[in-house]
Symmetry: C2
Subunit: 125 residues, 2 copies
DNA sequence: TTAACATATGAGCAATTGTTCATATGAACA
DNA sequence: TGTTCATATGAACAATTGCTCATATGTTAA
């Protein structure tokens, strides 16, 4: 039954069909993964966390995170392309700030998950 | 001023100090990035999306996503370690389901972001 | 016990990613 | 105009990641 991606015999076809119908489009799920991938790096999470507090220029962020200007600039590019930050030029200086209200929600939900006490079963792993 | 991670002279020390005080602990931000990293893969996003609809065994998921049992099992391990799914054994069969209410929120906030219409400036990039 | 089966896991490989280094761009000012 | 400075970017390299393949684990049934 099916395309043999699993050697099992017990496949629950009715469940699979139901789930297949209800799941979002493949493309949406791909985009969603791409979005979370942007959040999935310590440097970028730190940048976002910093920009929650204040608009900052590239140089400030580099100084704050003890990283090179180049590294920060590369990461800001990623954040820009994901529409998570916006920028404003003032002469030579470029100020970055958060672009989206959703970010705070996503970020905070993530923090809540992190801060939850861990269950017994997990502690054993 | 500072540790010279940036050759700039214009560093706004007062902003940096303020932000530094308000930012979450480094370790929390690291954990947060680790959590989002788990969401940042198409296969795992699809698995989570499927488990929103129903509890499923490894074989069902493999069939649904047209992927090998091994690939799915490896990814389920990642999801388990991040406490995003739980499992229940019934004989040889292992059923997986979502472990956490936060997941739905994080996931849906992400989808909202994805679905937002894009601005003019971004369209040009 | 042995055979069959559902799942888990380790090693290896290709693809992706984050940083560094060198340099380009573009704005302000002498 | 030429210089200085803030930022952006391309190439290269090391580290990480997701999959495959082979095999281990653990459960059921003969």
């Amino acid at each position: 039954m099916g395309d043999e991606f699993c050697s099992c015999d017990i496949v629950h076809e009715n469940v699979i069909e139901m789930v297949k119908k209800k799941m979002p489009q493949e493309e949406k799920l791909y985009d969603l993964a791409e979005l979370f991938k942007v959040f999935g790096d310590t440097t970028r999470v730190k940048i976002i966390s910093a920009l929650f507090e204040a608009e900052m220029c590239v140089c400030d962020i580099a100084e704050l995170l003890h990283m090179t200007q180049s590294a920060i600039s590369h990461q800001l590019r990623v954040l820009r392309q994901a529409r998570l930050v916006k920028h404003r030029k003032e002469g030579k200086v470029v100020f970055y700030s958060l672009d989206d209200e959703h970010i705070k929600s996503i970020f905070n939900q993530g923090l809540e998950h992190i801060l939850e006490p861990r269950g017994f079963e997990y502690a054993l792993q």
